[in-house]
């Protein structure tokens, strides 16, 4: 295939970015999207130009590093698929593909398509854990946990922290990300002790980072590569309100 790529280029956080067009040739439909980007970058380097910076690592859809906004959708046209797992058979020969970074005030651009998502780490630091030091645990089978609860907690825990929910939201809200972690931990017996405080302090940090409010458009769920459900947002709200009133 032959494609035209319209790529966001921005040399540093304060530079004024702009789109640039590139043609790439010899793209195989079995290539992943990032392998197609590799072809572009090899071409740019050989032409003496600056390659496009983007984050990527595992290339198997689990590390959450890759984050391209492709033709107006986080991670592109395939549902429940990260950028690295998107394959070129999703496109037609001679297509033009528009590639942007995940845009949100709380994700400042580092260079080109690479953004700074450390706001997510700072939210986790405010309560995305169960306070147990190494060596304090009782036998793993001491507390049976209903299979359904364990499975639902696992559904929430599969979040990869990529930020697609934020990029998809017109308000740049991080509610799906925050709620997935709160729901995962608050649902389990081990996490109940700190459940109220966890919900409040993680939401407070989310606000402090400048993420917007949730207005229930569910764009986050639609674009989440791991299919995290908005039901978790309801669970978070319940924990948050319960703790606020109780406190």
């Amino acid at each position: 295939m032959q494609l035209t790529l319209r790529v966001w280029r921005q040399s540093n956080p304060s530079a004024k970015g702009e789109f640039e067009n590139y043609d790439v040739y010899g793209i195989d439909k079995d290539m992943s999207f990032l392998e197609m980007m590799d072809v572009l970058n090899q071409q740019l380097i050989k032409e003496g130009k600056d390659p496009v910076a983007f984050d990527h690592d595992c290339r198997e859809g689990i590390c959450g590093s890759c984050n391209m906004y492709i033709n107006g959708r986080p991670h592109g046209p395939w549902d429940k698929t990260t950028t690295c797992q998107l394959h070129m058979r999703a496109f037609e020969d001679r297509d033009t593909i528009v590639i942007e970074p995940f845009r949100a005030n709380s994700f400042p651009i580092i260079k080109d398509l690479a953004v700074d998502r450390s706001a997510f780490d700072r939210i986790i630091e405010k309560g995305g854990y169960i306070s147990v030091n190494t060596g304090n645990a009782m036998d793993a089978n001491a507390i049976p946990i209903e299979k359904e609860i364990a499975d639902t907690a696992m559904d929430a825990a599969t979040c990869i922290g990529c930020g697609a929910c934020v990029a998809a939201c017109k308000n740049s809200s991080a509610m799906l990300f925050v709620s997935a972690k709160v729901a995962h931990l608050n649902m389990l017996p081990q996490g109940k002790v700190e459940s109220g405080e966890r919900a409040i302090s993680m939401v407070n940090q989310m606000d402090a980072e400048g993420f917007g409010s949730c207005t229930n458009t569910y764009a986050c769920e639609a674009e989440c590569p791991k299919g995290i459900s908005v039901t978790n947002i309801a669970r978070l709200n319940r924990s948050f309100i319960g703790a606020s009133i109780g406190g």
Partner: protein, 639 residues
Amino acid sequence: MKLVSKEPEGILSEKWTNYKSSVPLVSPANKRRIDIIVVGTGLAGASAAATFGELGYNVKAFCFQDSPRRAHSIAAQGGINAAKNYQNDGDSVYRLFYDTIKGGDYRARESNVHRLAEVSTNIIDQCVAQGVPFARDYGGLLANRSFGGVQVSRTFYARGQTGQQLLLGAYSALSRQIAKGQVKMYKRHEMLDLVKIDGHAKGIIARNLITGEIERHGAHAVVLATGGYGNVYFLSTNAMGSNVTAAWKAHKRGALFANPCYTQIHPTCIPVAGEHQSKLTLMSESLRNDGRVWVPKHKIDCVKPARNIPEQDRDYYLERIYPAFGNLVPRDVASRAALYVTNEGRGVGKTGVAVYLDFEDAIKRLGKDTVEARYGNLFEMYQRITDENPYEQPMRIFPAVHYTMGGLWVDYELGTTVPGLYAAGEANFSDHGANRLGASALMQGLADGYFVLPYTIGSYLSTQIRAPKVDTQHPAFAEAESEVKENLSALMNIQGDRTVDDFHKALGKIMWKECGMSRHGERMTEAKEKLGNLREEFWGKVRIPGRLEEFNPELEKAGRVADLIELGELMMDDAINRNESCGGHFREEFATEEGEAQRDDKKFTYVAAWEHTGNPAKAKLSKEKLKFENVELKTRSYK
């Protein structure tokens, strides 16, 4: 160099308990004054950094990714072993120890492996307490599955995302210590050198990957938990950023590198599709619990659709050759068998370099829903990559580089040959011998980080309680920093006409062909020459765009590839030296008539530890003799 393993005396099963009771402690008041650097935040690094923080040490943790949660441990799929015997199927600490020693083809240290088996049960307890949502049965208790090379079900799992859940558990513990100020986290930082003062590790030189700034960081001890070096093959299941640089720089500063030729080729990966391929994707070994591996009996059938080949024309070769273990033989055995049948011309798919992994019988026996519940996410991943539906036609799989058993040589305390420098997880060589069993990497990473290092590092740090805070103005820091800067400038100034990836692919091709699943002494000697030439060519012709003082991923890659080329030369030395076949190291000259690996216990029951001499082509060998006091060395048979 004389290698002192520091194994405690006494009965095997009491060694660790006795060690813990007698190891010198560091008082809480002293811990507050002691700094530890941890490089890497995968399972071993994150768990170590979190636990050091909990104990009261001041920790500086480093990762090259944009968040500690993205370390490549996250991609481990199948599970984690523990000798819990929850299934009442006869498992025990001793059996896990024995299976690991045998699986490693008798090339690991007994005392280390027994300790690993002992702490395995604590790991599961710890992870459940952290909220890791392991799979459970309807009674609410933890579920287990079986993995290759063993006859019990001792593997705990969280769907096909066990590594992710364990890493997020360790990351959450780490985040808690970051919030408390016990750990200072340096993200998007890469260690580029080790700093030694009076022979002891006292810090690192790191590059801030966003600004390009070179930084000095001092500490009373340094822990490397920087993973394996599978990317020396270019194509592997490792993440794109996985690299050997931190360990290699430590090696160049005096840490011996052990058994580099022991690499694991995982039997069930999605086959290479074409020249564009940038990495390979694993399909969890757990699939071999229910999937059956086969190729057509006759070459002529290889091009037919799989479903058109009748039962009697299929060769379920693992079941045929290894009836006792069948599809669940260890990884090295399964991989080599796949190589043989494809070499015979019976491979399938467009390239002919693949075998089938078929779920037809499993779907008949269990129903599609059960198969989907067990492996649904893996099937989806397979379909996204290959555009084929594994519910309707068999998967095509082929072996790929997955894990490296070799690594920095460490003693029982996980200390390297540089005092004050430790190595944990895949970065060390210690527990898996010549072949790692499935679901044991996660176990080892977390064992080292949560339960071993926090004790053993105290033995060294108790000697450092009077040492003042490390002064990064010391000339040793200045010298290391200027060497790093010179090296980076040298790379930038080459401005040749070949990209870093060109060289990386060339390296990978040589390594995969000559130091992969099947190796030969003479061919490797030639290959080593080629690597030497490649190294020279790299330093004469590589082209790196951009500047030093900016976010420059090509520069990062270039530094890593330069180190991988040198490592490749050492791997060849090690593989040429080891005139036997064992585990993942298979030498064509040393095989039985049936083509099975032939060990030479008389000559090679030792750890090969290599010392850097200043010339990457001329490393010096030291040997640590392995003593087997509890296990009798046998020919591994899975027939």
